[in-house]
């Protein structure tokens, strides 16, 4: 069921994809559109916060550093 959801999401995106020209990327270049948010350090802090409470981790890049919080 999950793989079907992922596949259908992929197909939906494929149908709507436009070839964005280099000069049309002003919105995509905004600081608030960066993957992980506007600040990588606070993102790392958030991930440690969540990791200390949850039993799952990963999916946000491989560099995060360890902590003895779990």
């Amino acid at each position: 069921m999950k793989s079907l959801l992922i596949l259908s999401t992929l197909l939906l995106f494929t149908g709507c994809i436009k070839d964005v020209k280099p000069w049309e990327k002003d919105m995509l270049a905004k600081e608030t559109m960066k993957d992980g948010g506007i600040n990588s350090l606070s993102k790392k802090f958030e991930e440690h916060m969540y990791f200390s409470k949850e039993a799952s981790k990963g999916g946000n890049g491989v560099a995060g550093g360890g902590c003895g919080c779990n």
């Binding site: 995106f13 964005v20 550093g65 360890g66 902590c67």
Partner: protein
């Protein structure tokens, strides 16, 4: 153990002094939970510097002051530290409650991004952190390759290796090899390898999506040395043992994530993320993150986030005092 609603608040203050793309960022992060559970105060500094158009160096230093109380089983009758353990205790004296702790964590990280003629990027990172009982060193590398000339599609491969050392006070039934009676400490270690493959696609001039698959392989000492479980419950004699918890010495996890970002207006952006996680301890989880950014003006950006997380328990999870375990792992 019953799930309790915990309320966490975090405040982030960022001051930035910058020229062009270079900046120095001073941050103060404050995290609080209800019931005096955990408080973290984390002042930090981050420096980002471009060298020409081909190199970017990023360095950060964080000092976390962590304090609070963590729930675990302990023996009320002993009157000793609540991390106390023992055998043949009165079962009715075993309680599950918060135990105070405090610690300081210092962490430093360094990363260098190199851009090639085709604008592919290679980022090498180093992380080092230390607490009174936990030391972590990490090296990482990530390569990003553009799949098209318009730079609307990219694929990334990341790999990191983490070496962790945990200081464990040796007690009976732990995996320490030193003299148990002396209560000495021993450094246990653990290794972690994280690999992630991602694909990013610009959908239109205002939005993009990112897909990732990852795996995390861990081995070594993966137990929390402060957590206790209750074993050998004898209903007739009303006795039980409080001993250190014991998690397996390896874990293999897989996960997948989907992210979507959309600049809804010139001042409001939305970022959504879903992650599925599963490991061989029997834990699987679903996470949904949503963040809304509001750019008030050139100097102020506000973020509002909502996160939903659901997970199953590990196969060897021991629920509460009414469930005494004699499983190998608990």
């Amino acid at each position: 153990m019953q799930l309790k609603l915990s309320i966490a608040t975090a405040v982030l203050l960022i001051g930035v002094s910058s020229q062009a793309e270079d900046y120095v960022s001073f941050q103060y992060l404050q995290y609080n939970e209800n019931d005096n559970r955990t408080t973290v105060s984390a002042p930090s500094i981050m420096i980002n510097k471009d060298f020409g158009v081909d190199y970017t160096l990023n360095a950060s230093f964080v000092g976390d002051a962590v304090s609070g109380a963590s729930p675990t089983y302990y023996d009320t009758a002993s009157g000793a530290s609540a991390f106390s353990r023992g055998t043949n205790l009165r079962a009715s004296d075993v309680k599950y409650a918060n135990v105070e702790y405090e610690d300081t964590r210092l962490a430093a990280s360094l990363s260098l991004t190199s851009r090639f003629a085709n604008r592919d990027e290679l980022t090498i990172g180093l992380n080092r952190s230390s607490e009174s009982d936990f030391y972590s060193s990490e090296v990482s590398a990530e390569y990003m390759h553009w799949l098209d000339d318009s730079k609307n599609q990219s694929i990334s491969l990341g790999l990191s290796y983490q070496y962790n050392e945990i200081l464990v006070t040796c007690v009976e039934n732990s995996s320490c090899s030193v003299d148990v009676a002396s209560g000495a400490s021993q450094k246990m270690d653990a290794n972690l390898i994280n690999a992630q493959l991602s694909f990013s696609q610009n959908i239109d001039s205002r939005s993009y999506a990112k897909f990732a698959l990852y795996t995390i392989l861990e081995d070594g000492y993966l137990t929390n040395p402060y957590m206790n479980v209750v074993r050998n419950y004898n209903e007739i004699l009303d006795t039980a043992d409080i001993v250190a918890e014991n998690r397996p010495d390896s874990k293999t996890a897989f996960g997948g994530s989907v992210k979507y970002a959309n600049a809804l207006t010139d001042t409001i952006s939305l970022q959504l993320a879903y992650r599925y996680y599963s490991d061989d301890w029997g834990i699987s989880s679903n996470t949904l993150d949503s963040d809304v950014y509001f750019q008030y003006n050139e100097d102020w950006i506000f973020k509002l986030g909502l996160r939903g997380y659901v997970q199953s328990e590990a196969d060897f999870y021991s629920a509460d005092k009414d469930y005494f375990t004699n499983e190998t792992y608990a």
